[in-house]
């Protein structure tokens, strides 16, 4: 029965969006942080493309890293009888209640990128191996710094487990080198503008810095812009995500390296796993799934496109 409905829905593609027709396709809700960050935009696009390919209708919603707004969006998905939610969440602790609410309403959640601090509630948590990736980035940073010099760390948003895990990965490498001295460590909340102004201030107080290691690419972009504006193209900057912006910066010789998270693939995998559960009641083999990251520098940056490395 469901397959007939789904096919009919796909044929009525443009009309099926509200789900009010009895022949509407099944709905998947994709919920992420703001698409201002190309990482989340790529996730949403990847999820949407795969969902449509598999015959679903999609609503793509943005929680702006606000747990209250996220909760309301979950209510929307429940009210619309979504068959699954694909989520990049607004806080590892705050999200547990929302995912549970959806589960109680019969809607499974497939988490991507950011995990929550609980198991057995989401159907999947597909996350990048941030620790492994951070070690790659830090090892490259240490090499570029010649194992010595003053540096700055920019940290991500506190409520996001990924901020802490990347910082830990960085420190587990960098702290082993006594001649590398961290002179400042601040959060710029994953935000490009905030990183720009914090970098300006930090640079004024610490003109002797040689490098900046950043928890993500948007902050690296902000930091790099501030450094260039101050005439400090010499400062070594390393980011994390693998965005097209940073790729371009690397190819121009500005930012030196980043670490690719397979964001597009994670989003698509989230939808694939939702589809398997919806259509065949097959749950993923394990809930928590780690996807390895890849170092990006001038050697391979040209092959990077929308969070995937082309062969």
């Amino acid at each position: 029965m469901k397959i007939r409905y789904a096919l009919a829905g796909a044929l009525l593609a443009s009309a099926a969006f509200t789900g009010s027709s009895a022949y509407a396709a099944d709905l998947i809700a994709v919920i992420t942080p703001s698409h201002d960050n190309p990482f989340f935009k790529a996730e949403a696009e990847g999820a949407e493309a795969k969902a449509k390919q598999l015959g679903y209708d999609v609503i793509s919603l943005v929680h702006d890293d606000d747990a209250n707004k996220q909760s309301q969006l979950f209510d929307t998905a429940i009210a619309r009888s979504a068959k699954a939610i694909v989520l990049d969440n607004a806080g590892a602790d705050a999200t547990v209640a929302a995912v549970k609410k959806a589960k109680d309403a019969g809607i499974p959640s497939f988490l991507i990128d950011r995990e929550i601090n609980a198991s057995g509630i989401a159907s999947a948590q597909i996350v990048s191996n941030n620790y492994q990736g951070a070690q790659l980035g830090a090892q490259e940073f240490v090499k570029l710094m010649g194992e010595k010099g003053a540096f700055v760390e920019l940290v991500g948003k506190e409520s996001d487990t990924n901020a802490g895990i990347r910082s830990k990965g960085y420190h587990d490498v960098i702290d082993e080198y006594p001649n590398l001295k961290m002179v400042a460590r601040q959060s710029a909340n994953w935000d490009q503008t905030e990183a720009y102004s914090k970098m300006e201030t930090i640079l004024q107080a610490n003109p002797g810095i040689k490098g900046v290691i950043s928890g993500n690419d948007t902050m690296a972009m902000g930091a790099e812009a501030a450094l260039i504006a101050a005439g400090r193209k010499d400062v070594i900057v390393v980011g994390f995500d693998g965005s097209n912006d940073v790729r371009d910066s690397i190819l121009k010789g500005e930012i030196k390296a980043t670490v690719l998270q397979p964001a597009y693939r994670e989003a698509q995998l989230g939808v694939e796993e939702a589809d398997a559960l919806i259509k065949t009641k097959t749950a993923p083999k394990t809930e928590k799934q780690l996807m390895d990251c890849v170092l990006i520098n001038s050697a391979n940056a040209a092959k990077l496109e929308t969070f995937e490395l082309k062969p």
């Binding site: 996350v127 394990t286 390895d292």
Partner: protein
């Protein structure tokens, strides 16, 4: 493994009802201090210490393959090498971690870097076939990643899982690697059992030892 995960999830769920929300950066600190509200509070160093001799070493001794054969098979048929002598948590975006037994001669040593390594010639050709970490700075999580009885799903989040991975390195460093000689290494015989993650770099594998013996100066 799923049952273990479910049981832990249930106990975590029961406890979560009584929890307050705390910022993520404090979570690890609390874990380190011995836990909170009776949840599955984990000291990763204690966990490793308690499983090392009883589970980890026997597992490695049983599963480790001969290094040269493993390396050569992995170069052409990684899934076969992985099935024989390795483990990976899942198929996609996760490299195989192989377990190997290496016997050879030390032909290179870098003890200047804190991430010290010895280059081991296992084939008798006089060059480094495997780069073995001897600490104190250790890279990667190969020991943890080799264990088929350890799962990311058993941990609250990546931070706890990473701390656990690091704890293996800390343990082998403190109990074995720190005691190794650091001078006049080139020329000495070495035998070891260890793990490494397969990659496509073309470089000699970076092996993390679980057991290692370095012979006397020649």
């Amino acid at each position: 493994m799923r049952w273990v995960g479910c049981a832990m999830a249930l106990s975590l769920g029961i406890v979560l009802a009584a929890c307050r929300f705390i910022p993520t950066d404090q979570v690890s600190a609390i874990g380190a201090a011995g836990g909170t509200n009776g949840a599955a509070a984990r000291d990763p160093d204690q966990m490793v210490a308690s499983m090392w001799a009883a589970k980890v070493v026997p597992y490695f001794e049983k599963k480790a393959g001969p290094f040269l054969a493993a390396r050569d098979l992995a170069a052409t048929a990684p899934d076969q090498a992985g099935a024989k002598w390795g483990y990976r948590a899942k198929a996609e975006a996760t490299p195989w971690t192989l377990m190997v037994r290496i016997e050879g001669t030390i032909v290179a040593a870098d003890t200047e870097s804190r991430a010290a390594t010895i280059g081991v010639d296992a084939s008798g050709e006089g060059k480094t076939d495997a780069s073995v970490q001897i600490g104190p700075a250790m890279r990667g999580t190969a020991i943890r990643d080799a264990l088929d009885f350890v799962s990311f799903g058993d941990f609250t989040n990546q931070i706890d899982f990473a701390r656990f991975g690091k704890a293996f390195n800390t343990y082998v460093n403190h109990n074995t690697l720190e005691k190794l000689p650091r001078d006049d290494l080139v020329g000495r015989k070495v035998t070891l059992i260890g793990a490494y993650a397969l990659d496509s770099s073309g470089e000699p594998p970076l092996v993390t030892p679980v057991e290692i013996t370095i012979g006397p100066k020649p």
